[in-house]
Amino acid sequence: MTTPGSDALRPAVRVATSERSPVSLILEGINELLSRRRLIRYMVSANMKRTHVDTVLGQIWWVLDPLLQMAIYVVLIEIILNRGTPDYPLFIFAAILPWKWLSISLGTSTGSITGREGLIRQVQFPKIVLPAAGVLTGTVSFAISLIALGLMYVLYADRLSPWLLLIPLVAVVQFAFSIGLGFILAAVNTFYRDVQNILGHILRLWFYASPGLWSFQENLQDSPLRPLLMLNPMAPILESYRSLIYGTTEGIHTGPDFFGLGVVFLFSIGLILVGILLFKRMEPAFAKVV
């Protein structure tokens, strides 16, 4: 036995949350995320170890999964519906990878509080690390699935371009957007568990409404829906990935939509702040509800 200087074991003053200002709550949330990096890291690695454990192909699934998903869309759209664009497999692959990241992130973070009932009722720790670990799990799996992208370029070598180096930039915007949304979903799902039931359906509809299987340039040049669909924060993100990975249909790379990304990034910063505040406001009730 020992008496280590743990931060959970330090003296503490606790007062009612309603007596605290939004700024102090947000700062506390950010501080908790930074000071509990090791916990987040352990949780991400636990999540990664848990996925695909006990399968014959094991970690290969990280690469195989997006490839199979792509194959299904290719069969559906290019072969059955006969509506593909040139090099269609790469065209949709550029959207499947980030979308998988988004759906893992949101799915894992949404259930992150409700899935840890025992812990929340018995141990005092900053709950905000849970959705953060969920989004980071998605991020790591995205990084691994880039191997699959490498395999795709064996077939489409002529579409390789130096613009690929800007993928991390787009990824930062997507990360900010999904972690902000993750905080909100995790908190709300604790009180209304309907969220995790409906999320899968919303994600699917959202994907079809985003430029994933189609693009604004190819399919919606003069559609009246265009301005509406452009409001989707994932639209500039997916279009940017595509411009880096695939280029235009003619194979010309023009670079990402910097303006669109900038707007989404600013919006995401706001979303993160609102998300942390909402989460910290609801946090005291988690142990009473789960």
Binding site: R14, Y42, L119, Q122
Partner: protein, 309 residues
């Protein structure tokens, strides 16, 4: 719980005779052993815990059925002064816990004892008022909470340490002790889902008790695993109780309270209704229980004979 006559039961004194005498003489003017230890480390007058006007409120619309049911049950008992949408598990509670205190918390089910303990642990935040802890706390509630079946025992120890906020270096130092105490042999590197219930419980206990808190919070006295491990675990709890600067025990074991606590509080309907020497409080509690039982019996009789209340 079967008691092996050869093994010392937990009801045996956790303190040496001299310390026990010292605790018994606690209210006498001359300085006892416990007092001396207390005053050496802490300045006169500063408590270990200071609770002021504490209120813990549950929102009934948001709580799930099982809690809701319990809450409603207590609400019926509480009468009409409570609004339908909220339920105060604790209200207007003031309490100071001094260094060296071994405080027994007793009271009927649903009185708010566990809620009080959870708020001391920081798991439940105050809806009203404040809780000040002048020292670190840890609960022994954490047996196996948050274990991950797909991870190895060793990974789970790391994860638990990170959840408890124990720094990495400290964790590296105490991990061998945790593994040795849990006594699960080579299984430590196997996934947790391959463990037996006993092995899981031993590992959980070993982790939960690997850190000595300033203020030890106990919800009932723990019995884990087989005979051998139980006596080992009871010895360790005794060690924790002796080392901690203050102990709070929530229990239905009134014998334990009179024997080992130096102070007791009686909690009823979310507030402290009596506090003082354990023997007095236990008597008071027994009287109240008897009184309520009589009232209930009378009501039942009236009901059975068809005479309205």
């Amino acid at each position: 719980m079967t008691v092996d006559p050869k093994q010392p039961a937990f009801e045996e004194p956790p303190m040496s005779d001299s310390e026990l005498e010292a605790a018994a003489r606690d209210d006498e003017p001359e300085e006892s052993e416990l007092d001396r230890r207390r005053h050496e480390i802490y300045p006169e007058g500063q408590p270990a815990v200071r609770i002021r006007n504490l209120g813990i409120r549950y929102n009934l619309r948001l709580t799930r059925r099982n809690t809701l049911k319990q809450s409603l049950a207590s609400m019926v008992r509480r009468g009409d002064e409570v609004k339908q949408t909220h339920f105060w598990a604790i209200r207007n509670l003031d309490l100071d816990i001094e260094h060296g205190d071994n405080l027994g918390v007793i009271g009927p089910n649903g009185a708010g004892k566990s809620t009080l303990l959870l708020s001391l642990a920081g798991i439940l935040a105050p809806s009203e008022g404040s809780v000040e802890m002048f020292g670190g706390t840890s609960t022994l509630l954490t047996i196996g909470a948050g274990f991950d079946g797909d991870l190895t025992g060793r990974d789970n120890i790391d994860l638990a340490g990170a959840f408890l906020g124990i720094p990495h270096q400290d964790m590296a130092r105490i991990t061998p002790d945790i593994i040795e105490f849990a006594d699960i042999g080579p299984f430590i590197d196997a996934p947790l889902r391959t463990y037996s219930t006993g092995m899981r419980a031993r590992l959980g206990f070993s982790i939960a008790t690997s850190v000595i808190p300033d203020i030890l919070l106990l919800d009932e006295v723990l019995g884990t695993g087989d005979q051998t491990f139980r006596s080992k675990s009871q010895a360790r709890i005794r060690e924790l109780i002796q080392t901690a600067k203050a102990v709070v025990v929530v229990t239905h074991d009134l014998g334990y309270v009179t024997e080992f606590c130096n102070r007791a509080i009686l909690v009823e309907r979310g507030g402290i209704v009596a506090q003082g020497k354990p023997a007095d409080i236990v008597t008071e509690y027994r009287d109240r229980v008897r009184e309520q039982k009589l009232i209930a019996e009378n009501q039942a009789k009236r009901f059975a004979s068809g005479v309205p209340g």
